[in-house]
Symmetry: C2
DNA sequence: TGACGACTTAGAACGATTCTAAAGCTAGAA
DNA sequence: TTCTAGCTTTAGAATCGTTCTAAGTCGTCA
């Protein structure tokens, strides 16, 4: 598990000016949540600092992403989710119904390679694996069963 | 290479009513293009059928997706691209600069597995692998070089 | 104290997509 | 052939997440 202070500590040590607004956004991110949307982060931040504006949440998130401290995930609904867990390599499991992401560490992922003939002259910078499925809560809602 | 008539043939044999508008959308999809956005498909369709409306393009694409004949890809810009090549299993290579997708067939992808302990009770329905990189055209634009 | 730069804010603007309500087509019945 | 019911198309409005704008606030350093 990630040290809950990690993100804020990293930001401080990078000399990032830590206003009250930025702090509540960072705190919301590093809590033990699934990866949240900007909207969810906004409402969580608001519980702690009522005056914070949506624009500040968006500004802060955009800045954290461009600093490389937070990663953006796009669910199938097109809405961005924010993943603060950049320090540890991992992939994702997405519920196709409720669009929730979970971090996962698949086996065999280091064996995946793109043959030269399929690189089309690209400079490769990364690879993401997304498993898709239906989470337990949505299985109940949908009335589906896991036959395995 | 996919038979260029495949998509339209499949649709016809499924009893899908093939209007002029739907035909030009399907033809645009199955041409030898990279995976296009709705906007790009609209302008291509328009070259062949000037009166076609944007709404029809969106309606048709949505229907093709829900029929399972076309797959949606979300680039990092949040804009949907449409992949008509559902018949053959494949993964994707995305240019992080121009957001173009190419189909690829990595090696070792069948060795990737999610351990039981990491499934969190999900019913798994699929796995997508997306390689990211910079395409040759964008390398020129950006002035970066491939050192390998 | 003043001034500058960084940060925040409300609200407008934006862009992709979906919705709405009306009009147009088409296949098959009469 | 004509009629009709249902599917399809249309323009434009609406939606929603996100970004932009321009003004206001704050903190820091001289």
């Amino acid at each position: 598990m990630v040290n809950p202070e990690q993100l804020i500590d990293r930001l401080r040590s990078r000399g990032w000016r830590l206003s009250a607004q930025r702090r509540v956004v960072a705190e919301a991110l590093q809590g033990d949540h699934v990866h949240m949307s900007a909207e969810e982060i906004y409402s969580l931040a608001r519980e702690r600092l009522e005056e914070i504006s949506q624009a500040t949440v968006y500004n802060t998130l955009r800045e954290l992403v461009s600093m490389g401290e937070v990663r953006v995930l796009l669910a199938d609904d097109g809405v961005k989710r924010y993943d603060p867990n950049v320090a540890v390599a991992h992939h994702h499991l997405l519920c196709v119904h409720c669009q929730t992401f979970k971090d996962v560490h698949p086996s065999g992922d280091d064996g995946v390679e793109l043959p030269d003939a399929e690189r089309f002259g690209f400079i490769l910078t990364g690879m993401d694996i997304v498993f898709k499925g239906i989470c337990p809560e949505c299985q109940l809602v949908l009335g589906v069963q896991d036959h395995q």
